[in-house]
Symmetry: C2
Subunit: 386 residues, 2 copies
């Protein structure tokens, strides 16, 4: 194979965005050959707006049986990612799933089992892993430059969403349609980066979700979560869609230094000797370890969605290692599921999460969903979003 023929499943906001850059041949060795959407209105619009070489399907089986695609990008509402991915693997197709990989970790485990059985490539659209700032933080941590991690503090409140946004898609911000709010829709990237940069998952978590606090929605739009790690580190993750202007500030402290990302800049401080060593040797009153502010070069551009799609294509054609393997879809999602579960049970959640309990309680939320939102589903302009 010299060229990967890609089909997009679900052409809402994100699917449309993927279609655009694929149609424009911005991904080397790949072409957009088919799209699938179950909305008649959308299918009509796609036929009018896509190149003629792209076949538009409204029937799922016809799409899979067409033989027109080697790989799919799944950009449907989250709940459908799992069944569509599993079906694609059964058809011998490679799969790139939009984030979140699924709504609950059981789903993503099944997706990975299907991927393994098929031997095909499975990747997740964790496009923010291509951001050089977060790559550098990961690099600093993994190389030990920060020392032992002690505290992670992420204030990520720049997800402003109006009521009109929530009203724009019938599946949005419902337990039955989306399986969560800001955690499942806006924050999967940060939740993934949190575990990816540090290489750590908590031992337990206590979280406080507020459901429909700022908007007429049934899911969470305001979250504060506290995590504890095996090495004694703690973490706080705060997010909301209700605030303006928001903040995106990540701070990670280790026993050898500190890193902060805010306003698109990375600041790095490094202790001359580690804090524990200073503490052992110092005999005075108010002294502290000598600290150096270090300018760290940040190289490369954020390749974003295109970067992940290109890497997916390279993985298929040349066996390149994936920036975000499908197995990694579970970890960030487990953080998100744990935040719901801790709130629902008003108690600690131990890791790894009790997947069955989460699944059961989620089903209860779905069953008692009182959502009567309009089902008008229009593609939003997603430029400038992530």
């Amino acid at each position: 194979m010299h060229q990967v023929r890609i089909g997009i499943i679900g052409v809402g906001s994100m699917g449309n965005s993927h279609a655009k850059y694929l149609q424009a041949n911005e991904i080397k060795d790949a072409s957009l050959t088919a799209v699938l959407d179950n909305s008649e209105e959308k299918v009509k619009w796609l036929k009018e707006n896509l190149k003629e070489s792209v076949k538009v399907f409204s029937d799922e089986d016809a799409f899979f049986e067409s033989g027109l695609v080697d790989a799919v990008i799944i950009a449907t509402p989250h709940y459908d990612h799992a069944s569509l991915a599993i079906k694609a693997f059964e058809y011998g197709l490679h799969v790139l799933s939009e984030k979140p990989a699924g709504v609950y970790t059981k789903q993503v485990r099944e997706m990975n089992e299907a991927a393994e059985k098929s031997g095909k490539v499975f990747s997740i659209m964790y496009n923010q892993r291509t951001n050089p700032l977060y790559q550098k933080v990961r690099d600093l941590i993994q190389a030990g430059e920060l020392g032992e991690i002690r505290r992670i503090n992420w204030l990520i409140t720049n997800w402003y969403r109006s009521q009109s946004y929530y009203d724009s898609g019938g599946w949005r911000a419902t337990w039955s349609g989306e399986g969560g709010g800001v955690l499942i829709n806006q924050c999967p990237h940060q939740l993934d980066l949190w575990q990816w940069m540090t290489g750590m998952m908590p031992t337990r978590m206590r979280a406080f979700c507020n459901f429909g606090k700022y908007r007429d929605i049934e899911v969470e739009d305001d979250v504060t979560a506290y995590a504890e790690y095996e090495n004694g580190a703690t973490g706080v993750f705060i997010t909301t869609t209700g605030e303006a202007p928001g903040t995106n500030r990540l701070e990670i402290t280790g026993d050898q230094g500190k890193v902060v990302i805010e306003n698109g800049e990375l600041d790095f401080w490094r202790l001359r000797v580690s804090e524990p060593q200073f503490n052992r040797e110092y005999k005075g009153g108010f002294g502290a370890p000598e600290c150096w502010k270090v300018d760290v070069p940040i190289s490369g551009a954020e390749t974003a969605h295109r970067g992940i799609t290109q890497n997916f294509v390279h993985a298929i054609l040349e066996g390149a290692s994936l920036i975000a393997h499908g197995e990694e879809g579970i970890k960030g999602l487990m953080l998100s599921n744990a935040m719901h579960l801790s709130t629902w049970t008003d108690d600690w959640v131990e890791f790894p999460l009790d997947e069955n309990l989460y699944y059961e309680l989620l089903q209860e939320k779905i069953a008692s969903s009182t959502s009567d939102k309009c089902t008008k589903s229009i593609p939003l302009n997603v430029e400038g979003t992530h």
Copy 2:
């Protein structure tokens, strides 16, 4: 009275600092006339180092009966603030107490009752209330410039203290000697400012204190606390003495804007229309309220301890209003007590705090204190601390 004769009770680190500026006549209409300390070694040192006009007492009753003072500054270990203040009021003296006013809120309530009965002035050394940055935040909030408060996030981890610091005074960082750690010794200012700037106390709190995590001490040296308010606002307060380099970053968001204080600078953003109004009127997808970054003039210098002492003197002589009235000693302390209590009970704490439960559990901690710290108590150089 044209001149307030001040006595200092307890001449450790802070008492010594107060003695210096009073001796240097830096407080208008006030003079240092006496000091009291129960350490023989300290008394010897004081006699050698203070001006001859300052009488040095080691006997408490002799000090109170001397007739040499109109007002006292209490700078002993925290537990003794209450009994000494009450005694001073009984002697008809005005009282300025170091922070924290006491170790548990019952104590401070009794102090205030004694103050009221005596009719004398009672103030707390909340010197950071004189910081123009925090004054401006209070001003912005109280004037409604931020709108309804939604989130308060204070990351205050720049309290680095080595083991040698903790070993420098036998009372330090023990339940019996100090009644707490970073919350009771380092953070009373921030806990006070938190409630003073916002004018709000939580309805409930869930906190996670770690005791002796970084140092060989029995009290907390690492804290994360989550608070909920009646208007739906939430707050997170994070502190430790174990990290370097630390951070001091306060962010407060309202439905009309946001303010951040970090690195000694105040940043203020204001929405052109309030968030709720924008949300009601906006019909698009990803839009957000128009936001203005506003340069706010910050005027005046931080007068710090001298400022509070001068204000105390003016209150005595001219009835000036107090920057920090004794009654205000309860609120910040209640936040601190609630953080302990929530950790000890591993549960929510409802406000106002169950003072009796807190007192009982604190007594248990004191009784089971295994502290065998050395009792060498040397004044530390406190320059640059607060």
